[in-house]
């Protein structure tokens, strides 16, 4: 591939998929800063490994897989033991009413799901991938993905139905700090 072709392909990938990748990274990590880092990491990895992308039509799945791998690497492993145990749990929920929840409660409930349930569930809710594509991204058999999706949906609903207590306050991220005062252009003393 010529360098100019690479650049054009990467620009096309950014244009088409950056919003989806950011949303996926945000739902995975629950943090805007981490989501942006993961998105940037995905495109830089794509830049370095673009030769590995044989079929541009699978770029969306490929990029999502890069995001997830980077996220798992940051978190030092996917917590397989918990996920394996949960594979046999979460029977359908009997509830007389629909749960009432907001965006923060949804994210908090997602954060509580084991990653092996959270990732496919997010991709399923995004309505961008078939079960087969999700299974390929997660590198597990189709049957396992369907089973996990079924349990993940039930688990999420259970969490949001049983966590109907007082709503949690939204997460406020701290303002970015300037370098420490040893830096030659550190923040002056009078800044609050």
């Amino acid at each position: 591939m010529q360098p100019s072709d690479t650049v054009r392909l990467l620009e096309d990938l950014v244009e088409r998929h950056y919003a989806l990748l950011y949303r996926y990274a945000y739902r995975l990590s629950g943090s805007t800063a981490d989501a942006e880092d993961l998105t940037q990491h995905a495109f830089l990895t794509a830049h370095a490994k673009i030769a590995q992308l044989r079929d541009p039509s699978s770029a969306k799945s490929w990029l999502c897989a890069i995001v997830r791998n980077a996220y798992l690497k940051d978190r030092r492993g996917p917590g397989r033991v918990v996920a394996a145990l949960l594979d046999n749990l979460a029977a359908p929920l009997e509830s007389p009413t629909d749960p009432d929840f907001d965006e923060n409660q949804l994210q908090a409930a997602l954060n509580e799901l084991p990653e092996e349930f959270r990732s496919p569930l997010i991709l399923f809710y995004f309505e961008e991938f078939s079960y087969k594509e999700i299974a390929e991204q997660m590198n597990v058999p189709l049957g396992t993905i369907m089973s996990r999706l079924s349990r993940a949906r039930a688990l999420l609903r259970r969490k949001l139905t049983t966590n109907q207590g007082p709503r949690e306050l939204p997460v406020v991220e701290p303002a970015p700090a300037c370098p420490p005062s040893s830096d030659p252009i550190a923040r002056p003393q009078w800044i609050a």
């Binding site: 360098p3 650049v7 990467l10 620009e11 950014v14 244009e15 950056y18 919003a19 950011y22 949303r23 945000y26 739902r27 805007t32 942006e36 998105t39 940037q40 495109f43 830089l44 830049h47 370095a48 029977a91 359908p92 009997e94 509830s95 629909d98 749960p99 965006e103 949804l106 997010i122 399923f124 809710y125 995004f126 309505e127 079960y131 058999p141 189709l142 049957g143 369907m146 089973s147 999706l149 079924s150 949906r153 039930a154 999420l156 609903r157 949001l160 303002a175 970015p176 700090a177 300037c178 370098p179 830096d183 030659p184 252009i185 550190a186 923040r187 002056p188 009078w190 800044i191 609050a192």
Partner: protein, 291 residues
Amino acid sequence: MDCLTARQILQLACPALELECPAASEPAAADCARAAEHVQACGACQSAIAQQDRFDRRAGQMCRDVAVPLGLKHRLYAALESAEWQATTVQRALTGATGVLVASGNRAAQTTAPSAASGKTRRRIAMAAAACLLLAWGTWQLLAPRPPRLELAAIEQAAALEPIDSALLPNLARFANGTAVCLPNSVNLSRCTIAAAAKECWLAGGQVAVYQFTLKKRAGSRSKPLPGQILAIPRVAVASPPVAQVFLQGRVEYIGHFAATAWSEGELVFVCFLSGGEDELQRLAVRRDAS
């Protein structure tokens, strides 16, 4: 078939609640058909499935509804541009240097072959190889692609003429090239109300950090606080960085409704804009006797 088994089979087979038969690895087609038959005749199951469906629609909608930060696409392009520039530069350097090494190596091999050259000849060969390497490095320095440079005047114009609504902009702690964003030390902001965090703004094609502030009115004055802003840009990204090294060492220019002055400090180029004249800008100068 009982309710729980029927729902589990259907959920497992058809997470989207499409009542169709699953793939071969999923519950047997006969079980699926019996489960579907049960649900069609069972009000409790229909209600439970409809409830899960409503939940999925709502959770799915909320899950997809994530605001993408302003300027993210530009930041990604900038990061990719920088990576591409580094990759091409390294590649060119490697091919250039390897070519020289191979050429000099071959020559050395020829001369050190059976005839056994003297120490003097070997020194000459080594010097020639070093000269070749130096020449290649110099040529690469001259010819290697450079990242695009920003015109400070264009950024100043854009900043002065287009009002920047910092409430809509994301915070910026580090530029795409890794330089940390920070306020200058040579401006006295003790009379100003200023946000601790810089906002990211794209002006004239460049990534700029913007600190908006208001300068408190003079004691006894009836005038309103004066709005101003400090722009910060990585010095390496600016085509001709200002020679001035502290605030107000350079010229004061009038752009739009602002008096403005630019200078280079640390790794950054700063431009300070203040609504008002040069006299008001002087109020932001650090008094020499104070330090």
